[in-house]
Symmetry: C2
Subunit: 434 residues, 2 copies
């Protein structure tokens, strides 16, 4: 769509330092899927000249509310919505083996489609415009994003039981052809669910295409202990020796790291994704995000799946990133609000390999969220970025735009399917498994 946002507070990268944010007042112009102008509206002649004239589909008075780039949910298993509130209050391994895997064995691809749509709806309510998704049935994930208008980076959850490297290669080739909004990079579930031979095969494939590789890495102390017993080294070192990260990628969770692991992350320009709510809920531990960041390693934020969280809410995650870093580092100022916001947006996007939507700036894809300041949790306006990070809530998400299309506005979805149908499907899917 062609959209003109005016009377807007806009969170943009600072001119002198792209890694810092500032709030300006003015306009954002979107032409089809791309941001073509950001400024005070008075220096927009060049845009008009170049494009002759833009016919606006919508001219939106933002009324002083805030436009931010969409949040990037940098680690999730979206279709696990069917297992929300199904098994809770048990440790990770027991939760996986006794509760999750048996139900997943019953999941059909057509069901996964609707469960993905349900998760995407929740993302939109939380201002999340892209996900980094690892789950069974990547085609269902891709199709749900394609049909709803959502943006997703899919990675394979390769393991000994449910898929093969041949399938991953097919997925890579097919899914990357679908849409600019939908991409695929290889990944595997975890060290403890993959044989060495399988990982060697994946390494050959990923190096052939020069691809980054992603995986769950050092999520629990048990996982690291067992890996060391099996291979005499940490998961990170094991993956490195197998050549899995020659073209980068990274790890999800990364809680129980050895000192040498950080060097490997740096060497391959890898990123880490932290999932604080899931880590708390499953008692995995608190991730050393300060150590990662001090080592110059990019840290994105993920919700993890809706069965281990149980909600998909970047506001909750941002508060937890900040608060848990304080507890971990024994200080009240481990990381400031601006850095947390940057992690939830730019660092996540860059880690995921979708830098085209990492900021509100000319030439970037129009993934934009309108934050409503006219609510009590956003008042007074002492500091907008702190308000968003420490006090923000799904209630403040007034509009979510992905790739220039308004997919969510004032509580209503515009994703081509009736929400009630999605809710009914989700309920019938889990009921039929019982």
């Amino acid at each position: 769509m062609n959209i003109r946002f005016y009377n807007a507070r806009i969170v943009v990268p600072k001119e002198e330092n792209e890694d810092k944010l500032e709030v300006i007042f003015g306009e954002v112009w979107v032409k089809k899927d791309t941001i073509v102008y950001v400024g005070n509206g008075k220096n927009s002649e060049n845009v008009c000249k170049e494009n002759d004239i833009i016919i606006w589909n919508r001219e939106i008075d933002v009324k002083g509310n805030v436009l931010i780039p969409g949040f990037k949910n940098a680690h999730t298993h979206t279709a696990m919505t069917f297992l929300r509130s199904y098994a809770d209050d048990v440790p990770l391994q027991e939760w996986l083996q006794n509760h999750i895997f048996p139900k997943e064995a019953l999941l059909k691809e057509e069901d996964a489609y609707y469960l993905n749509v349900l998760g995407i709806m929740e993302y939109l309510t939380s201002g999340i415009t892209a996900s980094f998704d690892m789950y069974l049935y990547p085609y269902a994930t891709a199709k749900a994003a394609y049909n709803t208008g959502f943006r997703t980076m899919i990675t394979s959850g390769l393991n000994n039981f449910t898929s093969s490297v041949k399938e991953v290669e097919e997925q890579y080739l097919k899914i990357n052809e679908m849409s600019d909004r939908i991409k695929f990079v290889p990944g595997f579930h975890a060290e403890y669910t993959c044989s060495k031979e399988l990982l060697e095969e994946l390494s050959v494939f990923s190096n052939k295409y020069k691809l980054p590789v992603w995986t769950h890495n050092s999520e629990t102390s048990l996982e690291v202990k067992e890996c060391k017993e099996r291979w005499g080294m940490s998961p990170t070192k094991f993956f490195d020796e197998l050549g899995l990260h020659e073209y980068g990628g990274g790890g999800y969770h990364c809680i129980w790291m050895d000192d040498g692991d950080y060097d490997i992350f740096k060497k391959h320009n890898m990123s880490m994704i932290t999932c604080p709510a899931s880590n708390l809920k499953l008692n995995d531990g608190i991730a050393p995000i300060t150590t990662f960041r001090k080592n110059g390693i990019k840290v994105g934020i993920g919700t993890d799946g809706p069965s281990s969280n149980n909600c998909l809410d970047m506001f909750r995650e941002m508060f937890l990133v900040s608060g848990l870093a304080n507890i971990k580092d024994q200080t009240a100022n481990s990381i400031n609000a601006e850095d947390v916001l940057k992690m939830a947006i730019k660092d996540g996007a860059d880690a995921m390999g979708i830098s085209e939507c990492n900021a509100i700036a000319v030439g970037k894809k129009a993934d934009i969220v309108m934050i409503d300041l006219n609510q009590p949790n956003m008042q007074p306006i002492n500091n907008i970025i702190k308000n968003i990070v420490y006090s923000g809530s799904k209630t403040n998400v007034k509009m979510t735009v992905v790739n220039g299309e308004i997919l969510y506005e004032d509580g209503q979805f515009n994703i081509g399917i009736d929400p009630v149908e999605v809710y009914e499907k989700a309920n019938s899917i889990i009921r039929e498994m019982e």
Copy 2:
């Protein structure tokens, strides 16, 4: 108002064990400020007989959504809204001494009124129907609750600098006369801001009227260390020796406890209020709520003030209570969702001394919240209580009823003042201090 809610899922105490919750389907009838019927609608003859006929002001089709008792925010400093996002990322003592106290010294009583209204608005958006409030200008707190229709239990923040026991006695006598919705019990700020003489005087007063006493207790390790240096004992023991808790009361935060402190809490039937978001943000530590609960001590949940949190959101607090208990106790099942919900409602109400609104049951005050299930974060419906505790959000609060009056519905406030006026006041108050 007289309100008939029908087609409702209702969270009620179990008949056989009031400490457990269950979800029933049916109707709730409210006559003026009181719940007069809870059931399936088919056995309501007695209600009709007794009252002849009820003329309904509203008959509300709940459409299968959930009615829960309102949350009780059992520790807060509501009027600190003006300092939201003002000073963050600093340790508690520095935050208090260098940032908060200097601004508070400039605060006027008429300003505190509007700042309280702003906080009450946020409570309503989060399904909070009562607060336990300690702050400067208790008459402003009382007046804000009186005028908006909110319920509050006020306690004095007595200290060496801003008030006296004589004033506390006046407040006690006057505020308890205002309304059934507004009550007052004595309290003092903390051991480190009160002289022994002042606390002795408070003890005489509270024992004369047989009143519970509340205070910030053992929030930081520094506070406990300094108390031990000053008096050779923990804060809890010091207060006990001064006779402050002869009629109960309790402590806010209670993180750094000695073993003997729990016995003192038990002996006087005292309660503790945990404030997990504030404790994380200020790096106070993680409260030992499991130990309190194992000792049979009631634990309520508070947001603390909006300057140390920074939002007033019981959903965030409930998730944190659960997650932080896991980290503290090194398990993934430290406390279950049902117990967390009970803490946020019944245990908080009972601790605060307002058991008249601790449940949806006949004879209780009508403090009721409608939770919207027709949103993606509440689907599928595998377990309603887990959905609320682990996935719930302010977006799910469709209606908040206090004392039989609908104060918030579908994002609109019905509190006798225009929200925009409140926002403008809050901004001008803090701007004028700069």
